[in-house]
C-alpha cells in the first residue's frame, strides 16, 4: 500500500527540484537556441577569394604586415577600408620618394637606359613603401614585379607571356584568383564580417586615436604590435585566423562594458544616430 503521506513528502521534496531542473533545462535550451540563431544570423557567405590573415600577418615566413597597411583608413576615417588591387599613385607622393630618386640616379650612373632607370626608380619606391610599413595593395606582391607595368601591360594584348610569369609566381590557387582579378581589372566584392546596424554610429578613427593615448598601448614598443593589439580588442586575434570570422556579437553590452571600463563617454548620442 502506498503511504500517501510519504508520497506527499516525496512530492514536496522533488517538486521544487523538478522546477529547478526545468528551469535549467529551459536555460540550456534558450542558450542553444540563441547560439544557433546567432551563428545562423551572423554567418558570412563564402568570400570570393579565400584570403588568410595568418599568412599575411603572423606567419614566420610571411610578409608580416600590420593591419593598418591594408586597412589604411583605420586611423583616418570611420571605415577602415579594403586594400586596393593595385597601388594608388597618391602613395608615391608620401612613400619612398628619395629612395626612388637615388635608385634612378644610380641606374643612370651604371649606364642604363632612361626606361630601365625609370623601372629601377619605381621598384625602389615600392620596396621602400613595403619596408617602411606603408600602405600596400594586392598587386605589390601578387602582381608583376614592376608596379609601372600594371598601368601599361594589362591592356597590351600582344604581350602573351606576360601574365604567365605572374601566375607562376603565385603558386597557391587562391593567390591565382587574386591575379585573375588584377589582370581583368575586376574589383573584389568582399562580404562584410562585422556589420553595424544602421542605427549605430561607429568610427574606427575615434577608437584608434583614443586607444593610442592610453598607457597600455603606449607601453608596447613596436608600432605594428600596437595596432594589432588595438584591433584585437574588438576583432579578436585576426592574425591567427585563416579566413576572418566574427568572435563577438558586437552588441550594445559589449560596447558599453568597454566604454565604462575605459572611462569613455556613455551618452546615448555618442553611438545612436
Amino acid at each position: 500500500m502506498i503511504d500517501q503521506k510519504k508520497l506527499l513528502d516525496l512530492g514536496l521534496k522533488v517538486g521544487p527540484l523538478m522546477g529547478m531542473y526545468g528551469f535549467f533545462a529551459f536555460l540550456i535550451l534558450a542558450f542553444t537556441g540563441y547560439r544557433y540563431y546567432w551563428v545562423s544570423a551572423e554567418e558570412v557567405p563564402p568570400q570570393p577569394v579565400g584570403y588568410k590573415h595568418f599568412l599575411h600577418v603572423a606567419a614566420p615566413d610571411g610578409p608580416k604586415l600590420a593591419c593598418i597597411q591594408c586597412h589604411q583608413y583605420t586611423d583616418k576615417s570611420r571605415q577602415a577600408g579594403a586594400p586596393p588591387l593595385t597601388p594608388s599613385p597618391q602613395w608615391n607622393d608620401v612613400w619612398g620618394k628619395e629612395e626612388g630618386i637615388a635608385a634612378y640616379a644610380e641606374a643612370k650612373k651604371a649606364g642604363k637606359s632612361k626606361e630601365d632607370a625609370e623601372i629601377a626608380r619605381r621598384m625602389a619606391m615600392k620596396s621602400a613603401r613595403l619596408q617602411k610599413s606603408g600602405p600596400v595593395s594586392c598587386a605589390d606582391c601578387h602582381g608583376p614585379d614592376d608596379p609601372g607595368d600594371l598601368a601599361m601591360d594589362i591592356s597590351r594584348p600582344g604581350n602573351v607571356g606576360y601574365w604567365d610569369k605572374v601566375y607562376e609566381k603565385n603558386e597557391k590557387a587562391e593567390a591565382k584568383k587574386v591575379v585573375d582579378h588584377i589582370r581583368t581589372r575586376e574589383p573584389i566584392h568582399w562580404h562584410r564580417t562585422h556589420k553595424m546596424p544602421t542605427h549605430v554610429y561607429f568610427s574606427h578613427k575615434r577608437h584608434i586615436k583614443a586607444l593610442r593615448e592610453r598607457d597600455e598601448i603606449k607601453g608596447i614598443e613596436s608600432e605594428r604590435e600596437q595596432i594589432i593589439t588595438m584591433c584585437s580588442f574588438c576583432h579578436g586575434e585576426v592574425q591567427m585566423m585563416g579566413e576572418n570570422r566574427k568572435i563577438r556579437s558586437m552588441e550594445m553590452g559589449f560596447c558599453i562594458s568597454c566604454h565604462k571600463s575605459k572611462g569613455a563617454p556613455t551618452d546615448c548620442y555618442i553611438c545612436h544616430k
Binding site: P84, L85, P187, W190, T198
Partner: protein
C-alpha cells in the same frame, strides 16, 4: 472650364465606399505583417582596382560635387552631397542632400550658399518613382496638387490602341526621322527656357532638320516687362535688379521673396541691405503674399490693376519728369487716391520717399503686370526707372536675367492656330508642359491632336506628354553634363553626379542623336567651353574652383526712345478692376506648377494657409463671416463666362472681396491672355462666391494649423517698444529667469550649469551647451528650412490621410499666427531642446534623456511608443511613426535619397528635431582630431544652412564669444512659454 468642374465636383463629393474601406483595411493589415528586421549597413566592401579614396576623401565619407539647380529659371549654384551605396551589384554614387554653392554668383555671392524649398526638394524629382502609386500605407484616391505624374525612364510610344509601349532609342529616332522626311507641312519646335550651350544646340538642330523654332515657353515669361523695355530702351529682356545697392525699394506686385525671377538672390540682397541701416521698402499688392508680410509696416494694399494711375502720378511728381522726350499725362491726386485705394497722405509719402532717395529702385512685376493694364504698368515703371536714374545704376541692362529667347503667350497662340489649321507635321515639345499650364483659351491640348507626330522630351509623364505619340525620357540635371546661363554673361556648370537611373539621356545627347551626329554632348560641350572660356575664365570654369564664371563686360548706357507715347495713350483713364476680383498668384511650393511633381512639395504645407494636400481658393475673413463660410466649404466661383468649384480657406490678411488662388490649384487659367503684352492674365472680375455643397473631406484639403490665433499666449511676441507689444499680456516671468518655477528638476548644487539669471540646474554641461537663435524679424516664412530638414533627416512623407489625422511628420514647421493688424506672422517651431524638459520624466523607459551637450536626445531603439512624451510636450514638436517607413516601404528610387548618417525609424517610435545631431557629431569629430573645442560657426544644422535670410544661428551657449550667446543676451530675445519653466535652448528674437 467645364472639365475642371466635373473633375473637382466628382472627386470632392465622393465619400468612402465599402469597397474602398475593405481595400484599405487589407492594405494596412498586410503592410503591418511586412515589418522587417533591423536594417543593416550595406553588406559588401570592395577592393577597388585603383583606390578612389585618399586621406581627404576616405571611404564612408560623403562626396561633394558642384552643380547647378534646374528646378526654376533662377539656376542657383548647387553643392551636392552624395554617398556611395551598394545597389545589389556595385557601389554607386547617390546624391542625398542639396545645398547652395558658396561663392556662386546667383545664390552664394556673400560666401553662404542657400536654396529655396523647391531647390531643397529637387531630389524627389530625381528619385521620383516610375509608377505613380502613392505610398504603401496611403489610402487610395488621395488628391495630389496636380494629377500625380510618373518619371519616364525609357522611351515610349503610343501603339495603335493608344496604349503606351516601351521602345528602344533607335526605334524612337527612326520614327521621328521618318516623320520629318514627309513633305507638305512644316515642323515645329517648342521648349521651356533654354540657356547656355544647349540653346546653340537647339538652334543648330532646328536649322539642320528644317524645323521652325517657336520662342521658348514659360508661364512666367515676364512678357509685359520685356515688351515695355523693348519699347522704351530697345532691350527686350528683364534687367538684373541690384537691390543690395539701393536705399529705397518700391515693389509693385513682384513677389521677390517667393518666385519672381531669382528669389534667393533677392532675399539675400534684401537681408544684407536691411541689416546695414538706412533702407526702406514699400510693397504694394492687391492680395497677400509672403513678400508683403515681410515688408510688414510698409505693405500697402492696392486696387487690382490700378497701378498705372499710381505710377503715372509718381512720374508726374518726380523732379526729372520734364526731361522725358514726350510728356505723360497723369490723373489728379484725388482720382489716383480713389482709383488705387491709397490715401492722399500715403501717396505723397511714397512720392517723397522716391524723390528723396539717393538710389531708389522700383520693381513692377508678378500680378501687377499680369492683368489688362500690365503693359502700361510696365511702361510707366520703366519711365520712372529712367527719370530716377535707375536704368544706368541699380538696374543692370547689360547683364540681364537672360529671358531674351523666351516668347510670350502670343507665340504659343500662333502655334496653336497653325496646329488648328493643320499646318504642322512633327511637333517637338521639350522640357515644358504647355498643354497643362497654358490658358485653356488657347486650346493647345485639342489643337495638338492635329499634328502628324507629336514628340515630347520630358522627365515626367505630364499633360503634354500624355497627348504625344513618342516620349523621349530626359535625364535629370544631376545625371547629365551641361551648363546654364541664368544671367547674360553668368555661366554655371551642370555636373553629372550619378549615372542615369533609367534609360534616359540628356537634352543635348537627344538632339545630337536625332541629327545622327556621332559625338556625345559632353564632347560638344568641352569643345564649346574651350572656345568660350579662355585665359582667366578657363581656370574659373574648372570644377576645382567652383565651375562658374561671370564674364567681364563694360556696361553700356541705356538710351530712352520715344515710341512709348503711342502705347500710353489714354493711360490716365484706364478701367481698373473692382475689389471683387480673382487673383491667381504664383505658388511658392510649385512655381508655375512644374514643381508639383516633387513629392516633398505636397507634403510641406503652404506657409500662409498651412494647407499641405489639396487645391483651394482663399477668401478674406470678413467675407467668410458675411456669407457664413468656413474652411473646406465647397464653393462655386462664378465669373462672366467661366466658373470653378473649389473648397475655400479663410485667409487672414487678404483684402475683402479678393479671391486668391494659387497657380497650381487652377492650372489651366480660363481668363486668357493680355492682348497688349502677351502676358498671362491672372485677374478677372466680378467674381461671386456661392456655397454649393457641404464641407469636403478633410484629407482632400488638409489644413494643418488648428487656429491662426495665439490665444494671448505670446508665442510670437511683438517688437519691443511698439504699441502692439505694450498691449500684449505680460506673463509674470517674461524675461526673468530667476522667477521661473523649477519645473520637474530641482536645482542641484555645484555640479549644475548656471543659466542666464544665475539659476543652477541639474544637468552639467562641461564643454558644450548647444542652443539656437531664430530672428523672427528676418524670417520670411519661405519654408526652405522645413524642406532642408526633411531631406537631411530622412523624414518620411506620409500622405494626405495621415496629415488629416494630424500625423504629419515634420520636425520643423512654420507656424503662422495672426498679428495685431490681422496679417499672419511666422515662427519656425522645432524641438526646443529644453533643459527642463517635460518629455523626459514621463518616459517609462528612459528613451528620451538629456545629453552632456544640452540636447534632448530621443533614443529610437529604446522607445516603446507610449507617446506620453508627446502628450506632455507644450510645444507639440514630437512626431510619432504610426507606420513603418523603412527603406523597403519607400517607393522605387526614393530610398536612395536616404541620408546614411541618420537611422530610419520604424513604426511605434517617437522622433523629433535633434539639432542635426549627425552634423554636431561630425563637427566634434573634426575638432577632436585637432584637439580643440568646436569653433563658433563650424556646425550648421540643415535649417540654418539653407535659410536665405540667415535668421537661424546655431552655436555653443557655453562659449561667451559665440554668436548665439550674444544673441541670447539681447533685449529682444525671448523664449516661447518660458513661464512654464522648461528652459528651452531656442531663443527667438523679436
Amino acid at each position: 472650364m467645364s472639365q475642371i468642374n466635373n473633375k473637382e465636383g466628382n472627386e470632392v463629393n465622393e465619400g468612402m465606399d465599402r469597397r474602398d474601406f475593405l481595400k484599405t483595411a487589407t492594405a494596412v493589415g498586410s503592410g503591418a505583417l511586412l515589418a522587417s528586421c533591423t536594417p543593416q549597413e550595406d553588406s559588401r566592401f570592395v577592393s577597388e582596382v585603383t583606390s578612389p579614396y585618399s586621406d581627404k576623401q576616405p571611404p564612408g565619407a560623403p562626396w561633394i560635387f558642384q552643380s547647378t539647380c534646374t528646378e526654376c529659371p533662377a539656376n542657383c549654384g548647387l553643392e551636392v552631397k552624395a554617398y556611395e551605396k551598394y545597389d545589389g551589384k556595385d557601389r554607386k554614387m547617390f546624391p542625398v542632400k542639396l545645398e547652395g554653392l558658396q561663392g556662386h554668383p546667383v545664390n552664394g555671392a556673400d560666401g553662404k550658399g542657400n536654396l529655396c524649398m523647391r531647390g531643397q526638394g529637387a531630389l524627389t524629382r530625381l528619385y521620383a518613382p516610375e509608377k505613380s502609386n502613392l505610398m504603401t500605407f496611403s489610402l487610395p484616391k488621395q488628391p495630389a496638387l496636380l494629377d500625380f505624374t510618373a518619371r519616364v525612364q525609357t522611351p515610349k510610344a503610343k501603339n495603335k490602341d493608344g496604349k503606351w509601349q516601351n521602345i528602344s532609342w533607335e526605334d524612337a529616332y527612326a520614327r521621328i526621322r521618318t516623320a520629318l522626311k514627309a513633305e507638305g507641312k512644316k515642323n515645329a519646335w517648342l521648349s521651356g527656357r533654354t540657356t547656355g550651350t544647349l540653346a546653340g544646340v537647339v538652334d543648330a538642330f532646328c536649322k539642320s532638320m528644317n524645323i521652325e523654332k517657336t520662342p521658348d515657353y514659360e508661364v512666367y515669361s515676364h512678357a509685359a516687362i520685356r515688351k515695355a523695355n523693348e519699347i522704351l530702351f530697345g532691350i527686350a529682356d528683364v534687367p538684373q535688379a541690384l537691390i543690395g545697392e539701393s536705399d529705397f525699394l518700391l515693389t509693385l506686385g513682384a513677389d521677390i521673396l517667393e518666385t519672381h525671377v531669382s528669389p534667393i538672390s533677392y532675399t539675400k540682397q534684401l537681408t544684407e541691405r536691411r541689416k546695414s541701416g538706412k533702407f526702406s521698402w514699400y510693397h504694394l499688392e492687391p492680395h497677400v503674399s509672403l513678400t508683403g508680410i515681410r515688408a510688414r509696416d510698409q505693405r500697402l494694399v492696392i486696387q487690382p490693376a490700378s497701378e498705372p494711375y499710381l505710377l503715372a502720378w509718381l512720374l508726374s511728381q518726380h523732379p526729372n519728369h520734364k526731361s522725358l522726350p514726350k510728356p505723360v499725362s497723369a490723373a489728379k491726386l484725388e482720382i489716383v487716391s480713389q482709383k488705387t485705394g491709397l490715401s492722399e497722405e500715403l501717396l505723397k509719402e511714397l512720392s517723397n520717399k522716391l524723390n528723396s532717395a539717393r538710389k531708389p529702385l522700383l520693381l513692377a512685376g508678378g500680378v501687377s503686370t499680369a492683368n489688362q493694364n500690365g503693359l502700361e504698368t510696365a511702361l510707366l515703371a520703366g519711365l520712372i526707372q529712367w527719370v530716377a536714374g535707375m536704368t544706368n545704376d541699380v538696374l543692370d541692362f547689360n547683364r540681364t536675367e537672360n529671358y531674351s529667347r523666351v516668347g510670350s503667350l502670343k507665340d504659343l497662340e500662333n502655334l496653336s492656330k497653325d496646329l488648328a489649321a493643320d499646318k504642322v507635321g512633327v511637333l517637338f515639345v521639350g522640357w515644358s508642359n504647355p498643354a497643362g499650364t497654358a490658358p485653356s483659351s488657347l486650346a493647345l491640348k485639342e489643337n495638338m491632336k492635329k499634328a502628324t507626330l507629336r514628340v515630347a522630351i520630358t522627365e515626367f509623364m505630364n499633360d503634354t506628354a500624355k497627348e504625344c505619340d513618342v516620349v523621349l525620357p530626359l535625364a535629370h540635371s544631376l545625371e547629365s553634363e551641361g551648363d546654364a546661363e541664368p544671367r547674360k554673361g553668368t555661366w554655371s556648370r551642370i555636373r553629372p553626379v550619378m549615372k542615369p537611373l533609367g534609360d534616359t539621356r540628356s537634352a543635348g545627347d537627344i538632339l545630337l542623336g536625332l541629327q545622327g551626329s556621332k559625338g556625345s554632348y559632353s564632347d560638344h560641350l568641352s569643345r564649346e567651353w574651350k572656345k568660350r572660356f579662355t585665359g582667366e575664365n578657363a581656370a574659373k570654369w574648372n570644377l576645382a574652383s567652383g565651375g562658374h564664371v561671370v564674364m567681364a563686360s563694360a556696361r553700356a548706357k541705356v538710351q530712352l526712345g520715344n515710341k512709348y507715347s503711342s502705347h500710353l495713350k489714354g493711360s490716365d483713364a484706364l478701367p481698373v478692376l473692382s475689389k471683387q476680383s480673382i487673383v491667381v498668384v504664383p505658388s511658392l511650393r510649385t512655381f508655375d506648377g512644374r514643381s508639383s511633381v516633387l513629392r516633398l512639395m505636397e507634403e510641406l504645407p503652404d506657409p500662409l494657409s498651412t494647407i499641405s494636400y489639396g487645391k483651394w481658393c482663399a477668401i478674406s475673413e470678413n467675407v467668410a463671416k458675411e456669407n457664413e463660410l468656413e474652411d473646406r466649404d465647397l464653393v462655386e466661383l462664378q465669373l462672366n463666362k467661366a466658373s470653378a468649384k473649389l473648397p475655400i480657406k479663410v485667409q487672414p490678411g487678404l483684402p475683402d472681396g479678393i479671391v486668391m488662388i494659387q497657380r497650381d490649384s487652377m492650372p489651366e487659367l480660363p481668363f486668357g491672355i493680355s492682348e497688349k503684352s502677351g502676358e498671362l492674365s491672372a485677374m478677372a472680375e466680378p467674381v461671386t462666391v456661392v456655397k454649393v455643397g457641404s464641407k469636403i473631406r478633410g484629407n482632400h484639403m488638409v489644413v494643418l494649423s488648428g487656429s491662426m490665433s495665439q490665444e494671448n499666449r505670446g508665442i510670437i511676441k511683438q517688437p519691443l517698444g511698439t504699441k502692439a507689444a505694450a498691449a500684449e499680456i505680460k506673463h509674470p516671468t517674461h524675461g526673468k529667469w530667476e522667477s521661473a518655477p523649477n519645473g520637474f528638476y530641482p536645482p542641484v548644487g555645484s555640479e549644475g550649469t548656471t543659466f542666464p539669471g544665475g539659476k543652477v540646474f541639474g544637468h552639467p554641461h562641461p564643454e558644450y551647451d548647444w542652443a539656437m537663435s531664430v530672428d523672427l524679424d528676418a524670417c520670411t516664412g519661405c519654408s526652405a528650412c522645413v524642406a532642408a530638414c526633411y531631406t537631411e533627416n530622412n523624414i518620411p512623407m506620409v500622405g494626405s490621410w495621415d496629415h488629416w489625422k494630424g500625423r504629419e511628420m515634420s520636425w520643423l514647421r512654420i507656424e503662422p499666427y495672426k498679428g495685431p493688424d490681422g496679417v499672419p506672422q511666422f515662427i519656425p517651431m522645432m524641438c526646443q531642446q529644453c533643459h527642463n524638459a517635460p518629455c523626459e520624466p514621463v518616459c517609462p523607459v528612459y528613451a528620451t534623456m538629456h545629453t552632456e551637450d544640452g540636447l534632448n536626445a530621443q533614443v529610437y531603439n529604446r522607445c516603446v511608443g507610449t507617446r506620453y512624451c508627446s502628450n506632455n510636450c507644450p510645444y507639440k514638436v514630437r512626431r510619432f511613426n504610426w507606420w513603418s517607413h523603412d527603406e523597403d516601404k519607400w517607393e522605387g528610387n526614393l530610398k536612395w535619397a536616404h541620408n546614411p548618417e541618420i537611422s530610419i525609424r520604424t513604426n511605434g517610435i517617437m522622433e523629433k528635431c535633434t539639432f542635426c545631431v549627425q552634423r554636431i557629431r561630425k563637427g566634434k569629430d573634426h575638432a577632436q582630431d585637432e584637439k580643440r573645442l568646436v569653433k563658433d560657426g563650424e556646425i550648421t544644422p540643415a535649417c540654418a544652412q539653407t535659410c536665405p535670410t540667415g535668421a537661424i544661428t546655431f552655436g555653443n551657449l557655453n562659449d561667451e564669444n559665440s554668436m548665439v550667446h550674444k544673441l541670447s543676451k539681447k533685449k529682444k530675445s525671448y523664449q516661447v512659454f518660458e513661464e512654464l519653466g522648461t528652459h528651452p535652448s531656442v531663443f527667438y528674437l523679436r
